[in-house]
Symmetry: C2
Subunit: 421 residues, 2 copies
Amino acid sequence: MKNNVLKIGIIGLGVVGTGVVKTLSSFNNIKIQTVAVRNLNKKREIEIKNLTDDPFEIANDPEIDVVVEVAGGVNPCLEVLKTAIKNKKHIVTANKELLAKHGDEIFSLANENNVTVLYEAAVAGGIPIIGPIKTTLRGNKFNKVMGILNGTTNYILTKMEQEGLSYEECLRQAQKLGYAEADPTNDVEGFDTMYKIAILSNIVFHKKIDCSKIYREGITHITISDIACANELGYKIKLLGIAQRINDNDERLDIRVHPVLVNENSTISKINDAINTVLLEGHPVGKIMFTGPGAGESPTASSVVGDILAIASEISYTDTILPSQRVNVSENAIQEDILNTANSYFMSLDAPNTRGVIGIIGSICAVNNINLQSIIQKGIKKDNTALIVVITEKTLEQDIQNAKKELEAQNINVENIIRVI
Amino acid sequence: MKNNVLKIGIIGLGVVGTGVVKTLSSFNNIKIQTVAVRNLNKKREIEIKNLTDDPFEIANDPEIDVVVEVAGGVNPCLEVLKTAIKNKKHIVTANKELLAKHGDEIFSLANENNVTVLYEAAVAGGIPIIGPIKTTLRGNKFNKVMGILNGTTNYILTKMEQEGLSYEECLRQAQKLGYAEADPTNDVEGFDTMYKIAILSNIVFHKKIDCSKIYREGITHITISDIACANELGYKIKLLGIAQRINDNDERLDIRVHPVLVNENSTISKINDAINTVLLEGHPVGKIMFTGPGAGESPTASSVVGDILAIASEISYTDTILPSQRVNVSENAIQEDILNTANSYFMSLDAPNTRGVIGIIGSICAVNNINLQSIIQKGIKKDNTALIVVITEKTLEQDIQNAKKELEAQNINVENIIRVI
């Protein structure tokens, strides 16, 4: 850093990159040296002097102090950032997939090279969450972190409920508005939420998280019938990332991503459209909730720029980053299999419309240690089958899966199982 | 700081001080050297080795690195902290009154002496808000900060609405539960909220704020009739601290504390009991909201301990605090008089039950440039006067005050005026 001006290179000039360039224009202590893009000839909203299509040019440029990566994806970002770190550059990244899968390797390398990696924008867009957990809240022991972490799926679920339209129709609308990508898998199958809850779990519980052990279920199987039944029973359906200790002070962690029936009177049930929210429960702080825009050019740029300015402010005084900014790499988390966790369940069943069928359902549940809170026949379909909705009390996931098999052996089709909190 | 152990002195061992001592017991890099209390002989929940009734003993102890002030009030805290700062001690304080009234003097002195003053606990208890504004969100230009900043008054208003009890009865309940003090003036007259919105305005708008220019109104005049009328019209009543630019990019600030009718569908209307919430609007981040416990032993201790650990972490590496942690003292804010601001208003009127009275009200409003959204007669009282409720469109405060005088000259008593957002 020369003359108190921080020189940065930006990798990626999509929505977020463009927002970062615009926001930085009002800070004269930050100079954008080079921006790496995929296609040099694409017409762009903003003019950049030095464009390159080789991100390694930035990683190897001795003039650059900080590499800002807003391209996304593992390749080539992993290798680019590793090269930059070895060249003693600090990193600001919004790349949740990269951090969730390779954070360990990246942070170890950063520690060896005495540089920092900041990533406020990787979780919940514009909402300050990584920073507060690592600073203001550092005196706490947390038992739970949970949230609506993906704007696309929350938008789709909100539209399905408010307009009574199918998942497919709402996905199309989201794609038209630019809320969902042409291939929506990453959002709608819960991968994006999984990366984010993995990153949050890491800083909340101080453990390495293995993404492959996180139970993950998306929203593609949610029907408007499920939503209507849930509404009638006083619930909304939200896709949540959840990470919690199995018991208070227990080292075993229960981390998962799936749709959840939340009580319509809870604050989380009021978070609609593309808004994100993160809830934390810890001691001594109690329960706190952070709500705001989870994606988009401007909100994400706010977090990326906040990280860049943090580095500028630190190294303008010491010419090196403080170790306190670095992430501790620590031991592996003990991640509990979802089969061993207890939940309440909403089950929608497609059963033959015959006398005694409710009795059969009740018996199968009883045999599998499942106490029922309610069992309601919601109507007869054209094919003379009945839609039956069951809500259970707290039950082991393993017992529910066993009951499912036994129900299906009796020609009672389990159309959907959704957990309730 | 010797052997990587930070020595602190604590001033005040009430609810918050006790929470801080308990929380610090799990951090072996922090040593509590001395605690200053008012009464040495009082029986206490926790045992402290070194107690003193002279806070200056702490301010002058060369062994102590950080003075933690959780006593409250201006005297003797101002002189104690000034002495500590001159002795090169860092400060962590939860004292909103002191910072709102004398922050300028304290921060200037801290800058001269190269020490830091942290105060996360002074606003919204356990909710991280000072830290995020000064770090993650520092790339933003804010237009507004607003919130429910006082748990006591929010508890009283919630009870009044939910149980239909008078202000006096709900205050008594709050006092019984320890939510309100024997002399509740500081909370119920809006002083506490005023100090907090002054502190927030300072860091959001980077200006010195003059508390004496903040319009302040408490909740003591709110009746259950006001709450019932508001509910019928689709509103809840909340005591808010509000600070906003008169227009976007305008340097003139509109800062005030008063009860507000908020739409029943807004998220802020759902914040009940002693919970606090802070809303920020800025660019590029958009709108974000922080919600959580605003007071109490544990939540406030979370913020105080977060600040202590921040100082420990910084000086363990550099043995001096970074200037970036310090607050910039800057120019005076231009604070607009509330008479020049425009608001919607709810007015409850006590009018003679005579033909033509609604016409008179309508005419007086029209003459004073007030457009009415609705005017409803709510019933006839025993003394043959009518309760009439008026909701106006956006109107200058000066015009409302003029209309009030003219209405009263016509024997139409203006029982309450509450602003609407």
